[in-house]
Amino acid sequence: MRMKKRAVAVALLTAATVALTGCATSGSTGTDAAACAPSKGKVDLTFTTWIPGMEDTVAVWNKANPDIQVKVQTGPNGNGGTYQNFFNQLKAGNAPDLGQIEYDALPNFRVQDGLTDLAACDGVLDAKSDFVDWTWGQVNFGEDKSVYAIPQDAGPMAMFYRADLFKANNIAIPTTWAEYTTAAEKIRATGGYITNFSQSDINQFAGFVWQAGGKWFKNDGDKWTVDLTDPTTTKVAAYWQDLIDRDLVSTNPPWTDEWNNAYNSGSDWTWNSAAWGANSIASGAPDTAGKWAVAQSPQWKAGDKASGNWGGSSTAVFKGSKHPYEAAKFALWLNTSAESLTMLNKSANLYPAAKSGLDLPALKEGVPFYGDQAIYDEFAIASAQVSPDFVWGPTMTQTYNDVSDGFKAAVSGKGTLDEALKVGQANTIAAMTAQSIPVNK
């Protein structure tokens, strides 16, 4: 018995030591600005990403830079598991040097002290003018003297639609949300659905709110404000609730075979999505090649010119990387060089966040899947119309989970989108309070 007690004591002590060391690393403060100096000799960097074809792009860099070799590790998309791995790796002190992080997750990583401020690294602050304004706002959190990641791509939203079906049924392409409802009624009469309301892509819903001028989070430096239930959000929620209630939209869980099938079989006619969505339709609905087209998002008021944004990501350097100088150099090349951006657009339909990227020849060409329409011209217009003021909260994974739980109930007829957002609001404040993140209640 005594032996057992001692064993337990030893085990607990060991555990405590492990825990305390873990604590010490996570408690240490940020990299000193002067610390971003070149390393001596050959440097090996690790880079975790889920972008298809990234290996090929990185191979081009590796060939040209024998002294800075980057090794690509792939994982599932961010909220699909890679972010959780990042958080675990950060806590364990063995995060990769570089990681793919979407804009909506950046505040979460910063609040967990996971990002290296790259402002001191060569050329990073000067790169500001190379990027579309709002994307830079996402990586510097509105602070002039910091840069927490290099923007990679943006997700300006537009409307993908089945040009052939609209034409054959003599239905006008909607330019306002009111017209979108009218079109939805007509399409339903033919047996189809105008679109699928996604129960788990809360970032798509955020894009709708973004377009309508809503803001979910504010950070005044002292405290966060959470506002998932402001009048704009409520208006957007009521709009979709109406379509759901009247069975004018399908509610297949997104990214499933059922969902692909709904588009591939012509049951769903439009998708309000981002530039990268071009890839999703082409791979999910291959039988509909050539029948799609892209138009600007429907507006809340006729004549308005506003677009939302869905997704888009950045290349961040994690806290603990020994080579921030080299990592930043690679990240800048990856996200500004014409060669890299062209390759990433080809392999993953990434729409560059770099201004120079918008003029790439590859982005001027017609795309066969979309009836040879030069679809990126539409996204260029949309990109310029994205409001730069949308701020993401520091616990977005949790906010998405909670709102999605409610949206799932709503599409099953057991609640409303509005109720889901109210629960999301309360739970987000609770989650922030639980981590002592100052928040207005």
């Binding site: 675990n88 002290d113 430096g221 869980p253 499933t256």
Partner: protein
Amino acid sequence: MSAPAASLTDAPGRAARPSKSRDRKPRAPKVRVQHTGAILAFVLPFGILFGLFYLVPIGYAIYESLLVIKREGTFGAATEVFGGFSQYILVFQNGPFWQSIGRVLMFGVVQVPIMLGLALLFALLLDSPLLRGKRFFRLAFFVPYAVPGVIAAIMWGYLYSPNLSPFSAVTENVNFLSADLVLWSIANVVTWVYVGYNMLIIYSALLAIPTELYEAARLDGAGQMRIAWSVKIPLIMPAIVLTAIFSIIGTLQLLAEPQVFRSFSSAVTSTFTPNLTVYTTSSIPNVNLAAAFSVVLAVATFILSFTFLKFTQRKEAK
């Protein structure tokens, strides 16, 4: 009669408490043995691994669950400070977590008896002289267990899907992924996977029964049904108890199947089962609260399996 029964009764006692209190009973008489070095040499490999991959993580989880995060400012760096039982207070105030415990308990009350009933039935059939092609059936029943749980869930998810299922005539009319049915659809997947596994445990217990007992029963005029009911089942009761305890533990720790179903069912939320709640909480990431959830779940699992064991042992003693 008593020999095999006794050796079988030992089995669940040892295996059902896989680790936590393993050294409680058998240790006492061994303390006086002189060969300390030899004992150490034999125990050390196990002890080291057990400590590293069991005790240390548990200790670490308990430690983490006693901490809270403090920070200054909207992006202030986090420091972990001792917070006593404040995470546990949050656990006990968390409605969805307790709902999820209720959900898996309901799941267990229905699914475990069905699964073990089927396993017992299949084992008895395999053991009876009436069945031909035993080897084939033994393998056929066991094969689903060789399919990884995630793959099984994806496969069944496809079979359940309303429009794409090969049985869409059924699934278009009955939504197996709806809020009313999804728990039982998952129960079906779990049953499909684990019946063969439990059957094998019960079947090997049946094989250990000496054949003289059957001869004696036959001489007394018992038929196959009577032998199964009055000889076989009482003798393999310990094995059934063992599988029941494994199943109770497995039920409370359901994760893979609901996690897979989450992506294609509107009814599976991020807090559908206790382990899914732990997973979701740790992805916030709020490791301290997730650790507290895990500790509470572990204690609940332990209490439940221990109560079940005590309950069945007392019954046996009678």
